[in-house]
């Protein structure tokens, strides 16, 4: 018998996002040398864990809430060249399986961007329920995955004069979620 058992159970209940204290961001190699980061201001997520352990995480991000430091770049990222927010207002994720090993999480699911849906694996961490202010019980979930943006209809690029391209194809997506047990939050 091992001296300590590794936690593999997810906390039972319906866990809803605290949007103020959560974030969704992306990072992509820019001009070959550096990492450019941006974020989406509006997101939603719900983690549902049944008594039998069946669990699902679903989440959405408002594409139009993309936020970067330059308004011209922000406009370009919203345009048909990139997220085309007029036609595709949301990015969506839905998990098909969630596995926990201690603090570590591995999710399989489907990510949809610009009507392109592909399977992704996201890895991250989970913290167990903790009673916070006003009796609210919360958990924390962080997840990260790397996608090839060109598979999701985000194909813009520009060659650099000395070789290489302005943007890499691989983009890292990160969410940091503060989730409250629905009973306590409502």
């Amino acid at each position: 018998m091992p001296a300590t058992a590794t936690q593999t159970q997810l906390p039972v209940g319906t866990w809803k996002l605290d949007p103020t204290h959560s974030s969704a961001s992306f990072a992509v190699k820019h001009m070959v040398v550096a990492t450019f980061r941006g974020r989406f201001e509006n997101l939603d997520a719900t983690l549902t864990v049944g008594d039998d352990g069946a669990a699902q995480l679903v989440g959405t991000v408002d594409a139009g809430s993309i936020a970067v430091k330059d308004e011209n770049l922000q406009a370009h990222l919203s345009a048909p060249d990139f997220f085309d927010t007029e036609r595709y207002p949301q990015l969506r994720f839905s998990s098909s399986s969630i596995r926990r090993d201690g603090e570590e999480l591995v999710l399989d699911g489907e990510l949809t961007i610009k009507d392109h849906t592909h399977a992704v694996e996201a890895r991250g961490t989970i913290t167990d329920p903790h009673e916070t202010l006003g009796g609210a019980v919360k958990i924390g979930v962080t997840l990260e995955t790397v996608i090839d943006r060109t598979r999701f209809g985000l194909e813009w690029n520009a060659p650099l004069p000395k070789g290489g391209f302005a943007l890499a194809d691989d983009v890292s997506l990160t969410v940091e979620l503060e989730l409250a047990r629905a009973d306590a939050a409502e």
Partner: protein, 188 residues
């Protein structure tokens, strides 16, 4: 459907003007092509003038706003698009978050008297339009040897050119119809 047509060449006998008239004849009955004739009057872009750019720019932006789709026909000057045309796009790309070109379906075609049919100018024009936020059709129509490209009735002499132009117009109008559908119109 109102298709605003912009010829990048200013001269009266422009081959690209003829190309736009050939396009007009290929449009379905529910679409009309309106040629923009104010390109020459648009002053050089100057950020200091953005507060009151003047009537020519106001008219250009208003024409873009009223259009359901845009059809550009560009010649090629020094392997690129004419400065007058680029200047007009620069005006219409500002302010970036509310630009007149933003999300506007746009197609680019072109004619030249040389053997390449303004193909590089078309590529650069598409890139500029996309950077300005337009919904650019990813197709080109290079019409080379423009002196001989048109029949007496103004249509394209080469059947393949006419077919390709018809396909581009169909794609352009399809994009415009998606935009004018009620769900998007109310969400925009």
């Amino acid at each position: 459907m109102r298709v605003l047509a912009i010829a990048g060449s200013l001269r009266a006998g422009s081959h690209n003007g003829r190309l736009l008239r050939a396009a007009a004849a290929l449009l379905p009955p529910d679409a009309e092509l309106v040629q923009f004739d104010g390109l020459k009057a648009i002053p050089p872009f100057d950020e200091d003038d953005e507060g009151a750019p003047g009537g020519a720019v106001d008219r250009w932006r208003a024409e873009l706003e009223q259009a359901d789709a845009l059809l550009f026909a560009t010649p090629e000057y020094n392997h690129s698009l004419p400065g007058t045309l680029k200047n007009a796009i620069d005006w219409a790309s500002r302010p970036s978050t509310a630009a007149a070109l933003r999300n506007k379906p746009a197609a680019v075609i072109g004619a030249s008297t040389g053997m390449f049919g303004a193909v590089w100018a078309q590529a650069e024009l598409r890139r500029s339009l996309a950077a300005a936020g337009a919904r650019v059709i990813d197709r080109e129509l290079p019409v080379p040897n423009a002196d001989e490209a048109f029949a007496a009735d103004g249509s394209l002499a080469e059947h393949e050119h006419a077919l390709a132009l018809g396909d581009i117009l169909a794609e352009l109008l399809a994009e415009a119809r998606i935009r004018s559908a009620p769900t998007l119109a109310t969400a925009a």
